[in-house]
């Protein structure tokens, strides 16, 4: 939804200068809970995660709790945990319970570590809250060979196993798909639904993401900054950086796409009074063109 901003007068746009987007509201607070450490190494990973990427530390519980407290005051609507692979964090169920005391919470996972015991633990965490716990399991192609070519051998089977385990404990997960193979959204959506139904998923839920040329697909030629002139007449809420922040062990980032990138780093302070972000990274153009959000809906 694009709607002209009304109210406070903004200075006129300066041609060629990058747009600056403030935090208009805190809709989604993300925790980069395991830094960039992952047990998979997907070909298109946004943040270049891998089993060897130890460049960003895990978050500790006290840090998570402090930001949750502030987010509650700011009226946050949703909490997200991502990585790396979040379930590499030894306290994941506890952190989810902390978050679910404040707001509905989602965890993004590759599913490989969702054992039957973990699925049961997640069910208990969910039952302990009035809010919904959402588990997003990443897959990239309904065909096992195609999927595993991107995400690693065995990843399709393990993700599907996780989806069914979660379904069995009453937590219908959202399968998150990056349209890397460019099957044009609709048909990929349909073929995923068919595959999930065939495999026994009773209430298939899907989230599609566009491809960002960042991380493992780093390609500065595919985009450029978003200028002030381009944002004239565009509601800043069209861009997720106007309503999202990411907490990492390094500090605060503007959005999940720019984690680890200096263009997205906003310092190590609190959320309140957090500076806005200049849309200078080439990945910003993808958000501008698609209006995509990393959030569930």
């Amino acid at each position: 939804m694009i709607r002209a901003q009304v109210g406070i007068a903004e200075p006129p746009p300066v041609p060629g200068q990058p747009a600056h987007v403030r935090l208009e509201r805190l809709n989604a607070l993300w925790f980069q809970v395991t830094g960039l450490l992952c047990n998979l190494e997907c070909a298109h990973c946004l943040v270049d995660s891998s089993p060897r990427n130890t460049s960003m530390l895990f978050l500790d519980r006290a840090t998570v709790q402090a930001y949750l407290q502030e987010a509650d005051i700011l009226g946050v609507k949703e909490i997200y945990f991502t990585g790396g692979e979040p379930f590499l964090h030894p306290q994941m169920p506890t952190l989810l319970a902390d978050a679910l005391a404040i707001a509905p919470t989602t965890v993004l996972t590759n599913g490989t570590l969702i054992t039957p015991a973990m699925a049961q633990a997640l069910r208990r965490v969910s039952d302990g809250s009035r809010y919904s716990l959402e588990i997003r399991v990443s897959m990239d192609h309904p065909d096992e060979a195609e999927n595993d070519r991107l995400r690693g051998r065995g990843s399709h089977a393990k993700a599907l196993r996780a989806v069914l385990r979660l379904q069995n404990v009453g937590l219908p997960p959202i399968v998150t798909v990056t349209d890397f193979l460019q099957h044009n959204g609709s048909s990929l959506f349909e073929s995923f639904l068919a595959m999930l139904s065939r495999e026994g998923v009773q209430k298939p839920r899907l989230k599609m993401l566009p491809v960002f040329h960042i991380g493992k697909l780093e390609d500065p030629q595919t985009g450029s900054s978003v200028s002030q002139a381009m944002m004239a007449g565009v509601d800043p809420l069209f861009l997720q950086c106007s309503q999202t922040r990411v907490i990492t062990a390094e500090g605060v980032y503007a959005c999940p796409i720019l984690v680890g990138k200096k263009e997205g780093f906003l310092g190590s302070g609190r959320l309140r009074g957090n500076p806005g972000v200049d849309l200078v990274h080439h990945a910003c153009r993808t958000c501008y063109q698609t209006g995509m959000s990393c959030a569930n809906t």
Partner: protein, 278 residues
């Protein structure tokens, strides 16, 4: 951060001060349930009847709903559906990403847009987007989806206390009312301020029962407000028959007959989704 609430900026003040009001959510062209709800609201001595928007969609003969609301003197505000129909925006503005949801939403929108008269589209264009009124001394603010965004979904398991508190603080209201999501719920904060999703008259709420719902609100200075959810039974088989006769999707008729949602499921949070059949 700014807390600029669209509903606060645009609210129309209702002059009366009430002790009891009836509040209807989305009608979705379910004129048969609307007739019954109007009767029930009068039987329960509601001093005013409000409708929080989304008059069309899913059901047949959208002009009948507009006429009923006008003739009954209901205070009607517009929802995202009404904005889209009134301004010929081309889709309902629900923002679905599931192609199946979009397919059915488009069929519903195209039918409603084609069968809403020019006179009623002009009427929809003039409707306010929010109301403010006093209920037993409590300041009440209505919205369609959320006070900050007409088409924002506020589900019971998707809406934190902190967000409700922020909306109440920013609006100065003691009670917020909304609809849009399609399932009724109430949240009361420890300080007794709260939010009520009044439910919808348009379709049953995904619980396997064919009845629909509206909300009766009472308040007095001592006890504060009380929300009572009123079930509305109506001739749902007749409506389902008319849906099919108008060549609307059989999935819409199935929802009316069974009480289970068959479309527009993608925005349901996990806990609401798991309660339904699909």
């Amino acid at each position: 951060m700014m807390d600029t609430l669209q509903a606060v900026q645009e609210a129309q003040e209702l002059s009366g001060s009430y002790a009891r009001v009836a509040v209807f959510g989305g009608i979705y062209s379910n004129y048969l349930a609307l007739e019954k709800a109007l009767d029930l609201a009068r039987e329960r001595d509601a001093q005013a009847i409000l409708c929080l928007g989304d008059l069309g969609g899913f059901g047949p003969f959208p002009d009948r709903t507009c006429a009923l609301l006008r003739d009954a003197g209901v205070d009607v505000m517009r929802g995202n559906y009404d904005e889209s129909i009134a301004q010929d925006l081309g889709d309902c503005g629900c923002g679905y990403s599931d192609p199946r949801d979009n397919h059915f939403a488009q069929l519903s929108y195209d039918y409603t847009a084609a069968r809403t008269s020019a006179k009623n589209k002009a009427w929809l264009r003039k409707l306010p987007s929010a109301f403010r009124f006093r209920l037993g001394g409590i300041s009440v603010l209505t919205c369609h989806g959320s006070p900050r965004q007409t088409n924002e979904f506020l589900w019971e398991t998707g809406t934190p206390d902190g967000l409700v508190r922020r909306f109440l603080d920013a609006s100065g209201a003691g009670l917020l009312l909304g609809t849009h999501s399609g399932i009724k719920w109430e949240r009361r904060l420890p300080d007794q301020r709260g939010f009520v999703n009044v439910g919808v008259l348009g379709r049953p709420e995904n619980d396997g029962l064919p009845n629909v719902w509206f909300t009766l609100l009472d308040a007095d200075a001592e006890k504060g407000y009380r929300a009572e959810f009123i079930p509305v039974t109506y001739d749902h088989e007749r409506l389902a028959h008319e849906v099919l006769a108008e060549e609307l999707p059989q999935e819409f008729a199935a929802t009316l007959l069974t009480g289970w949602w068959t479309t527009c499921l993608e925005n349901l949070p996990a806990k609401e989704r798991v309660r339904g059949r699909f």
